[in-house]
Amino acid sequence: MSRSLAVVPHLVRMYVSTRMEYRGAMLLAWFAQALSYAATYTAIALLLLRFGNLGGWTWSEMALLLSFHLLAYSLGASLSFTQFRDIEEKVRLGTFDAVLIKPVSPWVYLVFSGLNIGYVGHIILAVGLMAWSVTQVGVNWSILSALYFVAGLLSAAMVTAAIMTMIGATALVWVRSKHLFSIFFGFWELARYPLNIFPVPLQILMLTIAPLGFLAFVPVAVTLGKPVPLLGDWAGPASLLAGPLAVLLGALHWRHCIQNYQGAGG
């Protein structure tokens, strides 16, 4: 494992160098994606400013929720989305074989040889919005609450990376798994709104088998002192445990799929 970790900065350097070959396209992608999210958030802001709140959440609280959602997703997805979305193609073309013949962890190689710096636009927007919203929501910040907020963010990023790993790893056995990303992004869209506005069955789903409730709503609600449906007082510890638990499940699934990798023939 130590050799795998030692290789990480070199893999990242190679990937960044590759992206820099097309730096104009990269800058344009950053700008376009940030603009796209900003437009969506503006629409939500206008609606909230007109109607007052959404499920008891004001615009500034929603801004914190949206920024947390985007930042946690960007941190997790930069480690996982394009890498595991493209794994299906790698399996089909047989190029995944080349990952397995290197004397390093295939997960580390795959993740860091494709570490997506395309999320810079997302991160800049999310940090900007978060910096504004934390001053507006009236939270009495303490060291403990700040630590919880950061740990919840990391846990949420872990949930994202673990789910993406599990979806991508499925392609090692089934060859195709891209359709599962559509399901992920369906729940991911819902996860940017307060969970309490959805019917109970959907709330249960988003706190269990599709645990994207932990991506933003649960940690932000705990921070704001708002009630969390179904979890109640357990919401705080549950949001911190969700990430490591998802990573553990993701690692087991990844290992199982690597052991059962069949290639696509040829």
Partner: protein
């Protein structure tokens, strides 16, 4: 002690049964019928350190599957594979550090970056000491004539240049075994020749064990004294190339030229296969038949002007082998 051993190795792929047509595709969604494909079927062999072995077979014969099991990519369904005394799939990372693998059709170089960057990344991945890396890089650059393009992005290289770089990259860490999956596919004649000469030299001078799959029989002739032939997942032949012709009994070709067309000729010692009038082509009946036997049977009275005896080339031998394989299955030298 063998550097690689395979004992009764099987690899079975389980695939859903496909049904024809659109309706069949829909029915397939609800069907739990599977087809078992036996890609490798009870193969056993051993390879000693320093050997160069050609692994040959038609498409779908199970060549790549066997290479993937030896490199730890796939897990055998039954039987055992040992590489350097270890099971490759349970010791994949340790195994990978001591082998080199080249895929003819799947590049391991970073497409948009200079060749040198990919080499440098491998220095870190394989933890190659700086001095050894510099020595190996200099030697391989000279031997494979890469100096003119080592600092160019891979996307700008010809296929021949890229393949030389792939092979060099697989050798930078001094692997004990080099696996090559169709390394000359798509290369022009000159590039093929360079690659073959280099691989033969690496095997001869550095003692690197080489296992290569190929469709090009010249690769086998020039690099591999030993040949393993497979078909339908089964081992058909394992032995020295020079024994293949006699084992398979491929027939020598005899051409007789006459001053004038002597008309149809029927012989017991040779079978007439092409009749061009004054030139007639025969296949000798067996290894023991000599030209003298044929001439004796032919007798005098023909205006014979020239005789030419040709040994069957390796391609012809193998074509004959596969055409006659039901009768020859299990042949061993």
């Amino acid at each position: 002690m063998a550097i690689i051993s395979a004992s009764s190795v099987e690899k079975i792929f389980r695939q859903p049964k496909r049904q024809a047509g659109f309706g069949g595709s829909i029915r397939g969604l609800f069907s739990r019928d599977f087809t078992e494909i036996r890609a490798v079927d009870g193969i056993s062999f051993t390879i000693q350190p320093g050997e160069a072995v050609g692994y040959l077979g038609p498409n779908g014969a199970g060549k790549s599957t066997m290479i993937k099991m030896m490199t730890g990519i796939l897990v055998p369904s039954s039987g055992t594979v040992q590489v350097l005394g270890r099971e490759p799939h349970t010791n994949r990372i340790t195994n990978a550090a001591e082998i080199g693998v080249v895929f003819g059709q799947r590049s391991q170089l970073w497409w948009d970056l200079p060749v040198r960057d990919s080499f440098d990344l491998n220095r870190h991945i394989y933890d190659i000491p700086t001095a050894r890396f510099a020595d190996n890089l200099a030697r391989l650059t000279t031997m494979l004539d890469m100096a003119s393009y080592i600092d160019r992005p891979v996307r700008q290289l010809s296929l021949g240049q890229r393949m030389r770089a792939e092979i060099a990259m697989a050798l930078l860490h001094d692997p004990k075994i080099l696996f090559l999956d169709e390394p000359t596919i798509g290369l022009d004649v000159v590039a093929k020749d360079t690659v073959r000469k280099f691989l033969a030299e690496v095997n001869r001078d550095r003692g690197t064990t080489i296992i290569l799959t190929t469709h090009d029989l010249v690769d086998i002739e020039e690099i591999c004294p030993r040949l393993i032939m497979v078909d339908d997942g089964k081992l058909l032949f394992d032995g020295e190339l020079k024994h293949l012709r006699q084992t398979l009994g491929s027939r020598r070709r005899l051409k007789l030229e006459f001053g004038t067309d002597p008309g149809p000729i029927t012989l017991k010692t040779a079978e007439l296969v092409t009749d061009e009038g004054a030139a007639k082509h025969f296949l000798l009946e067996n290894e023991q038949t000599s030209i003298l036997d044929v001439l004796t049977e032919l007798g005098s009275g023909h205006d014979l002007t020239d005789i030419k005896l040709e040994e069957p080339n390796i391609e012809e031998v193998i074509r004959t082998f596969y055409q006659n394989k039901p009768a020859l299955a299990g042949a061993r030298p």
